[in-house]
């Protein structure tokens, strides 16, 4: 919240990236990184992802799971990453934390610049120190992401001990504080409990407490409520929203549920077959989407605020195979508006009406045939 004040006070940034020969493992490097971080803040970008490609080398061929994806996240912003399963949204998240299982997966190219640091240039030890401290993450399944043999208190305090170098006692105090912050009653008593003694919603709260233990700048939430019931989902989303406002944490919210994206995000990236196919402010994405895939998704959803409907308009067919995708619009085989040009050359993300609004579609480009 105070970032906007900072921004006006800071001078114009000369350099924005850490030189290649400097690492944050040294004192000098850390100081430089701090300074660069300030510069970045001035530029409003917390995270910049440029031309990220992540591939999986399988027996059947190379799967282009994330293909030349670029986007950015502002300080304190909530960005939605929406799409169906297999569109590359989770692999994007894994790439950001460099947790892509290797083999078979590998980040083959691109840059991920978080607060002035190119994550892909860090050693795995440096990355380990940064994970949890600058990026907190919450995964879909709260059952398997907690260690069943350790107490909840230990698991929350662990991160604070390791990254913030707090003493055991201080870390425990912090854990108690975090537990009550995420809405777990009798937090001091429950520190000694094990994950199985918590319900699904409560476990997800614990995950959020762990993710926020070190005041990260970025919270990566990968389908955080998919395994939960709808009333519990509302609780968890409300918690993420209020905490991100309180701490000024930016959030990347990965979801297949367009309703969640509509309610939570300021900006949305729509992904399809490893590509970002549309990006823009949430109102533009939902009101004047510029890509037939986004239209299809919105058309195919029955809505709560709609009377018993007629036939839903659907997207026929299935998403394409991501092994050796052809140079064509990847949605063209399922698109009812596709013309020859769509099958001959893949369109780029080009600007549309609206702030930071862009879409990857020949037909809706200015002068296109879908208007």
């Amino acid at each position: 919240m105070t970032l906007s004040d900072d921004r006006s006070r800071l001078g114009s940034p000369a350099v924005t990236e850490l030189p290649e020969d400097v690492t944050i493992a040294t004192e000098e490097g850390r100081r430089l990184a701090e300074q660069l971080a300030d510069n970045r803040r001035h530029a409003r970008k917390l995270l910049e992802v440029r031309n990220l490609s992540t591939q999986f080398f399988t027996r059947d061929g190379v799967v282009h799971a994330v293909d030349d994806v670029s986007f950015e996240v502002d300080y304190g912003e909530t960005l939605g990453l929406v799409g169906e399963s297999g569109c590359g949204k989770s692999v994007t998240a894994l790439s950001l934390t460099r947790l892509v299982p290797n083999p078979p997966g590998k980040i083959v190219s691109g840059e991920i610049i978080l607060d002035g640091i190119n994550l892909l240039k860090l050693s795995s030890e440096e990355m380990r120190l940064l994970r949890g401290k600058k990026i907190g993450f919450i995964f879909q399944d709260p059952m398997t992401s907690l260690n069943p043999t350790l107490t909840i208190g230990y698991q929350i305090a662990e991160s604070a001990r390791m990254h913030l170098r707090l003493s055991r006692k201080d870390a425990d105090e912090r854990a108690v504080e975090l537990l009550s912050k995420v809405g777990i009653p009798r937090s001091r008593d429950r520190m000694r409990d094990y994950p199985h003694q918590f319900s699904g919603g409560m476990r997800q709260r614990v995950m959020i407490a762990i993710a926020l233990a070190c005041d990260p700048m970025l919270l990566l939430a990968d389908e955080p409520t998919t395994a939960l019931d709808v009333t519990i989902q509302a609780q968890i989303l409300e918690l993420i929203r209020s905490l991100s406002e309180e701490f000024g944490t930016a959030v990347i919210l990965i979801t297949h549920d367009l309703g969640i994206a509509a309610g939570m995000c300021q900006r949305v990236n729509v992904m399809y077959a490893g590509r970002i196919v549309e990006t823009g402010m949430v109102d533009d994405i939902f009101e004047t989407p510029q890509m037939p895939y986004a239209w299809g998704l919105l058309d195919s959803l029955p809505r709560l605020d709609e009377q018993k409907g007629a036939r839903l308009r659907t997207i026929e067919g299935l998403p394409p195979d991501l092994i050796d995708p052809a140079d064509e619009c990847r949605f063209s085989p399922r698109c009812t508006y596709a013309r020859d040009v769509c099958r001959q050359k893949e369109p780029q993300l080009t600007d549309r009406v609206g702030e930071r609004h862009a879409a990857r579609c020949w037909g809706t480009e200015p002068g296109g045939w879908i208007q």
């Binding site: 409560m202 009333t231 994206a261 309610g263 939902f286 919105l298 018993k308 036939r311 659907t314």
Partner: protein, 390 residues
């Protein structure tokens, strides 16, 4: 409509009812120790009564553990009730002999949630779909023709009879499950979360298929789901369950626009709407805490421990002591709340209907595109949906 007596069981209260559920209870004993003594009971379904009318789709919603799946299974006697009765077309399912039950089962089928677990991976699609035909001695002599016909009916390539389930995507597998259920030409199908395991764009395909089949064969559905938007889309009436109880029952307009149970309102307010402006406008109640355990449900009204109306009304005593009966609160609209009239007056949770075109494809584009499609050859709908086995 006939008023509801919560206790006395008289068969076929509603002459239009195909399925009549009376005071159904299903409890699961918790057995412990060497002697397997009963330490408690999970009251999965605890005294519920409702009817499903011929040709209607009754949606059943609720959160996990509320008993909706258990109820669905009891309706086709995949589970035996602890107490209470289920009448199918006027006959008590519990009183049937084995042979009678088997013959009755031809009239009732189920579609399962999990398209991966509900198909035997070692059986071909042909044998999966023809198995019910064998069981019921149907179409003997031309069974494979019938299987091909069924596959085409659900939008699969009829030549896929020799393929195995793993060669199909989730949506296609769910179609196989639907073909299997349709094989015996049932009247009643329990659809147990049939689309919740599928991706958004595939969900709509399967949902459309279920609607088409309903119209084509005059099917009666019990549609169990946790997604309230989907249930509104498909249902003629909707029942809401909480912790083993049916708390509200009525037509979608009543349930979604003027719900009479505070739980229904809380549930509705938790459902996200894919429209940022509508989202900003809503008045939400966020329930605190988790659903209590069905082993030891709260006294009185089971929802009172999380109820916002109870708090607002100053915690009235009868909520804690008396279990509210499901009672008539409007035309064909029943709710189990002592203070349903107060709930009706509130605007909590309701998403206001707005007159406008569905978002998504811009109206002008859709209109022009449809006009162009009309001008071209009118293409056949239904058969030949992309059949890509890997």
């Amino acid at each position: 409509m006939t008023s509801v007596a919560n206790t006395a069981a008289a068969p076929a209260r509603d002459p239009g009812a195909l399925v009549d559920v009376q005071n159904l209870k299903i409890h699961f004993p918790i057995l412990t120790g060497v002697f397997q003594t009963e330490a408690g009971r999970v009251r999965a379904v605890d005294d519920i009564s409702f009817e499903i009318r011929k040709g209607e789709t009754l949606g059943l919603v609720g959160e996990s553990g509320c008993g909706k799946t258990t109820t669905g299974r009891a309706l086709i006697r995949l589970r035996n009730p602890t107490a209470g009765k289920v009448f199918f077309d006027g006959r008590d399912l519990m009183s049937l002999s084995r042979g009678e039950l088997r013959r009755m089962r031809r009239r009732m089928q189920i579609i399962f949630q999990d398209p991966y677990g509900s198909l035997n991976p070692r059986m071909t699609v042909g044998s999966i779909v023809s198995e019910p035909l064998e069981t019921h001695h149907l179409s003997s002599g031309h069974r494979m023709d019938r299987v091909r016909e069924l596959l085409a009916l659900v939008g699969l390539n009829p030549n896929y009879t020799n393929r195995y389930p793993h060669e199909f995507s989730g949506g296609q597998r769910q179609r196989i499950g639907i073909a299997r259920a349709l094989a015996v030409e049932p009247e009643f199908i329990v659809c147990d979360e049939p689309i919740s395991a599928l991706d958004v764009s595939i969900q709509a395909q399967v949902l459309n298929l279920l609607v088409e089949l309903r119209e084509q064969f005059g099917l009666t559905y019990l549609f169990i789901a946790h997604d309230l938007s989907v249930v509104r889309h498909i249902s003629d009436r909707v029942g809401v369950m909480y912790l083993g109880k049916l708390v509200e029952l009525g037509p979608p307009t009543a349930i979604y626009e003027s719900p009479g149970h505070p739980y229904t309102r809380a549930l509705l307010s938790a459902v996200p709407i894919p429209d940022p402006k509508a989202e900003r406008k809503r008045r939400r109640v966020i329930l605190t805490g988790d659903v209590p355990s069905p082993v030891n449900p709260p006294s009185g009204c089971r929802f009172h421990t999380r109820c916002w109306l109870y708090e607002r009304l100053g915690r009235p005593e009868n909520c804690r002591t008396e279990d509210p009966p499901l009672r008539q609160i409007g035309d064909d609209h029943r709710a189990a709340c002592h203070y349903a009239e107060d709930a009706l007056k509130s605007d909590v949770g309701v998403a206001h209907l707005e007159d406008r075109v569905r978002r998504g494809t811009p109206a002008a584009v859709a209109a022009r595109h449809e006009a162009a499609a009309q001008a071209a050859v009118p293409h056949e709908q239904g058969a030949g949906v992309a059949g890509t086995g890997e």
